[in-house]
């Protein structure tokens, strides 16, 4: 299966902000946050269309989110909004600073056609099951 390596950056978006104020269990929130933005070239390499499910994997975990194509990203750079989906792949080592490595970690992205994107309730259940 085709897989690309990227540097992953996480951050805020206006949509993420507006939708979280509606509520984190809202569909708007999942729509705007359970996503990963890839460059056009990276998407082509994976054979992705806008909105296809993709798997994002790091040393710390993996998560299925919706792929989005961005003109503004260089190949090899990907962006995910803050939230519980990206946190599935972030490590909790803070190197003595209290701050995890939220921006600039190495990730691999692959197509995940047919896979479903978990809801926030499902993610919560996973946490409780340990």
């Amino acid at each position: 299966m085709a897989e690309i390596k990227v540097t992953l950056v996480t951050g805020r978006t206006a949509d993420q902000g507006a939708s979280l104020e509606i509520g984190k269990t809202s569909e708007e929130y999942r729509e705007s946050v359970a996503v990963v933005e890839l460059s056009k070239r990276d998407a082509e390499e994976l054979g992705l269309s806008e909105g296809d499910p993709v798997k994002v994997k790091t040393d710390y975990g993996s998560v299925i989110v919706k792929g989005k194509i961005s003109e503004k990203l260089n190949p090899g750079l990907s962006f995910m909004p803050y939230g519980p989906w990206v946190n599935q792949v972030i490590g909790s080592e803070t190197h003595g600073t209290g701050m995890p490595f939220y921006k600039g970690l190495r990730a691999s992205i692959s197509s995940a056609k047919g896979a479903s994107i978990l809801t926030i309730e499902e993610l919560a259940n996973r946490l409780m099951r340990g």
Partner: protein, 429 residues
């Protein structure tokens, strides 16, 4: 129907205080001069609310009386050997005071969202300081504005209109035309598109670029052709702009705090700005995220001496980011209970820390359903500060503004500070 003017927005560190809110039948029906996110906050304040206090029984959250929720919360806190109190940046200052009082009472650790936001900025600040100014100084004087590792277009939406790019001020009557805007980021953000100069930097190389700028300003000749993916000529041009402006500012954000080098990036940035003060007037300002995260640091500092990551287990405040910060005490284990106030760490913390939070008895105080309320053992609904109750919040530049109350909360829904006081009183009995 009633209209309130100069309402203070309780979302981000901009703390805009010119919002006009219209209330009808106890609900907000209109909010003017808001950004997209604030509009959502005001209009949706009644959506997805937690209806009743709840306690988890047999794996399910069931409604209970407030009294029972308080009693069980007290049980958890009193029986725990090292509880964590966390969040606090999205509620007002009285709640922060009470949370610290409570942590002291039960010998726990109290931390606010700074630890996953501008914590590294604080660490850098404690190393080298920070030449800064309030936002009005930028509005009135700045002719060079640099956005480094931050994207106000997404996170501080009215910042550029109110403070940093377009406003016309005392010495800046031409507004936008008076200013040169520079953005430094790894990708072309919304800020980049409205800037006069966009510098695309290689991820994780801010420390190098900041140092190269400082070296250039000090007159050192560097042998590199480029640093951090930026050509030396470009670095030279930016250095010259910085030296020759009349009043420069660097706004910086999580692009610096969260990437490789973390607090060392802040060291480098402040040292650069300090150096620039030998040539011209230059300041730096962190883009604080939550509307009262600055307030959380303020209250923590005046009560404990330390801005976040404070432990009381020995009866006096101890400070050690990396040891007492929330992600660390959760991920490495150690805390055996948690009280989460106005925050959603189950969603915003790395999964290992979030998982451990789900394992320990957790009390959650929040107006709305969040991922943390979904995994909590006790959930207590509270009033939305800045909409349903008053209190002080501190803007990103340290200016304190009093939040307003424009609607009543639902019957039985109290402000955070009152709930915390009830818990404190119960424990003291």
């Amino acid at each position: 129907m009633s209209t309130y003017e100069n309402v203070v927005c309780p979302f981000c560190g901009c703390l805009c205080d010119d919002i006009e809110v219209t209330i009808e039948d106890g609900k907000i029906v209109r909010a003017k001069r808001t950004c997209k996110v604030a509009l959502s906050k005001f209009l949706n304040h009644a959506e997805n609310r937690i209806e009743n206090p709840m306690v988890r029984k047999d794996g399910k959250l069931v409604p209970v009386s407030l009294g029972e929720a308080i009693d069980q919360s007290v049980e958890i806190l009193v029986n725990s050997s090292w509880p964590l109190v966390y969040g606090l940046a999205s509620t007002e200052c009285d709640a922060n005071r009470k949370a610290i009082e409570l942590a002291e009472l039960v010998g726990g650790v109290v931390d606010n969202t700074t630890s996953v936001c501008h914590g590294p900025t604080v660490l850098g600040f404690q190393d080298v300081g920070e030449p800064t100014a309030t936002l009005g100084e930028i509005k009135n004087r700045a002719d060079l504005v640099v956005f480094w590792g931050c994207n106000p277009a997404a996170a501080h939406i009215r910042h550029t209109a109110r403070y940093s790019v377009s406003p016309k001020g005392l010495f800046t009557p031409e507004g936008r035309k008076h200013r040169t805007i520079v953005t430094v980021d790894v990708r072309e953000t919304g800020m980049a598109t409205i800037s006069d100069l966009f510098i695309k930097i290689k991820p994780g190389m801010d420390f190098e670029l900041l140092s190269a700028l400082r070296a250039t300003i000090k007159g050192h000749k560097m042998k590199n052709e480029d640093v951090a993916g930026v050509k030396m000529e470009e670095i030279g041009r930016v250095a010259e702009k910085m030296k020759t402006c009349k009043f420069g500012v660097i706004f910086f954000g999580l692009g610096l705090t969260m990437s490789k080098s973390k607090y060392m990036n802040m060291d480098a940035l402040v040292c650069l700005v300090r150096e620039l003060n030998a040539h011209t007037k230059f300041v730096a300002l962190p883009m604080r995220g939550h509307y009262n995260v600055t307030g959380s640091c303020m209250v923590s500092s005046w009560l404990t001496g330390y801005p976040y990551a404070v432990d009381f287990s020995r009866g006096y405040p101890r400070y050690n980011p990396g040891e007492f910060t929330a992600v660390d005490v959760l991920a490495k284990g150690g805390v055996d209970a948690a009280l989460i106030v106005a925050s959603d760490p189950a969603a915003s913390f790395p999964v290992e820390a979030a998982r451990n939070l789900a394992k320990i008895p957790t009390i959650v105080m929040d107006p709305k359903i969040t991922m943390t309320t979904l995994i909590g053992n006790i959930v207590i609904p509270v009033a939305v500060a800045g909409i349903e109750c008053e209190g002080t919040a501190y803007r990103m530049d340290g200016v304190p503004i009093r939040l307003r109350k424009v609607v009543d909360p639902h019957e039985g829904v109290l402000p955070d500070s009152k709930i915390l006081q009830m818990i404190i009183d119960r424990i003291r009995e």
